[in-house]
Amino acid sequence: KFSSFLSFMDTLEDVSRALLGSDEDDSTVWCIAWHPEGKLIASCGQGVVVRFWSSESGGWRQVGELDANEHSRTIRSLAWRGDGDFLAVGSFDSNASVFRVVRTEKGMQFPKVTRLEGHENEVKGVAWSTSGEFLATCSRDKSIFIYDVCPADDGCEVEYEVSGVVSHNQDVKTVVWHPKEDMLFSGSYDDTIKIWGHSGDDWDCIHTLGGHISTIWSLAISPDGDEFASCSQDRTVKIWSKASTTSQMAVRQPDPFALLRAASAGAGAFSAIRGYLHRQWSRSGQQQSPANSSVWSCVATLQGYHKRPILAVTWLPGLDGCIATASGKAIRVFRRVGEGIERSWCLQMVQEMAHSLDVNHVTWSPSCGDSEAGALLASCGDDGTVKVWRYKSDMWV
């Protein structure tokens, strides 16, 4: 328990009771993802089995297992599509795949899988756009692939076509879509965050945000999409906010360095990439002037709270300004408190030994909590376990 100077009590209680996880060695769990309905969690890690956990029949327990044996190495990340019918996974074996997920009385079934190849080495992140139209994968090969998700004519099959390839200077650790627009945020080993948007078929870098002094591990966007948090190897969390500049007619230019990097990413076998580059060069003479252009800037840096690199940050839906972080073995919860000029971020809660080894990921349940039931937070770690926590606060506004 942690009692702040504002004298209200926050609690973070482990509600999963029995430690969930696998019994094998090398059982690091890298990532967990909540099903959009908020009652089911998928977890992945060093083993190539994806596990599903639910509390629907009282108490958290495993309710399904997916043998993703088309992958030969660690599954690093996973993401549910907005409708919860598809699950994308990204693996260190350089491929990603998308599974159709069906829940029946007999349990969970996975009638179809689509394999996505093309990255040169480890896939680090996968993310679906809110519209469901795009899927992004990012990799240590410094590139991000953005796929068009096209339902086939019969309505059952889904096809994936590369819509764009963009890149950073180094390993891309994470990709996250904006909750309202088709705008992609990416964080990288090159210490920058890039924001990507598209006009027609072409994806361009709208913004490159510097400020962190080491690798960006994770990004979390607020539900309204007006601000986001980034966490880094440099042991800080930065909060970024959008300042709209509707009065200016800012010109949005395709990032010339992105073209060079896309070329040097070496995915020469991909004709879609060649086509993309060709389109870029041929329209380099034209420039786009969108009606309004927003500029993101860092409005707060949470420094001195974390002793280890921060591997994950997650933004609580339903509460204004509340994030949780994973750093070392600890989970921390920060809240934004105060009014007007007095507003600042404040550490609410530290769970020092959340896991017995490093915590790799934390993510809030998508169902908004309330002051009665609190909010649920899932975490996973090198100790091979997945835990679910209930966060409660007196200050639930």
Binding site: D26, T28, Q46, S72, R73, T74, R76, F92, N121, E122, K124, R140, D171, K173, Y189, S214, T215, Q233, K307, R308, P309, L311, G328, S356, L357, D358, D382
Partner: protein, 161 residues
């Protein structure tokens, strides 16, 4: 780090020795230092304490950590150990029991050493395997001892590499 040394990746085997076939050695005549013989001074733990120790978390000190890495062979001169080349030094091994962190700073023999990252990865792999898992292992270049110090340290610190 994980992607190179994961169990199913076979192209880099960690066996404690790396042999490089190099025509011209980067540092053909390294300085070889005498090795301290402190085996006779190893503490002997009484039997009654051993029984107690089972129930408590094992305490770690820098001697034990140094023991793990002193005999690792240098990639360029496999007949010599990292201790003999003063690449690893007992004074540059720090164990922080409160924060459960082990820090080893190594000194490449020359500031342009091209196998510095390799030495760092070897140290890290050896320590992660032989130290209690609850300890975070940090391997860095000793400050000022390599031109690419920042880039090497960043690679060694990346959990996924």
């Amino acid at each position: 780090f994980r992607s190179h040394f994961g169990s199913s990746h076979s192209s880099l085997r960690v066996s404690g020795t790396f042999f490089l076939l190099m025509g011209d050695k980067e540092n053909p005549n390294p300085t070889v230092f005498a090795v301290r013989d402190d085996t006779s001074q190893k503490r002997r733990v009484p039997v009654w304490m051993l029984a107690q120790a089972d129930n408590e978390m094992e305490q770690l000190d820098s001697d034990e950590v140094f023991e793990m890495v002193r005999s690792l062979k240098d990639p360029e001169h496999p007949e010599l150990t990292l201790e003999q080349l003063k690449v690893v030094n007992k004074e540059h091994v720090v164990v922080d029991s409160t924060n459960e962190q082990i820090t080893v700073q190594f000194t490449p023999t020359i500031p342009t050493c091209s196998v510095a990252t390799l030495i760092g990865l070897t140290l890290k792999a050896k320590l992660c395997r032989s130290m209690p898992r609850r300890f975070a292992v940090e391997v860095e270049v000793y400050p000022g001892k390599h031109e690419q110090e920042a880039a090497i340290n960043k690679q060694l610190a990346d959990k996924e590499r």
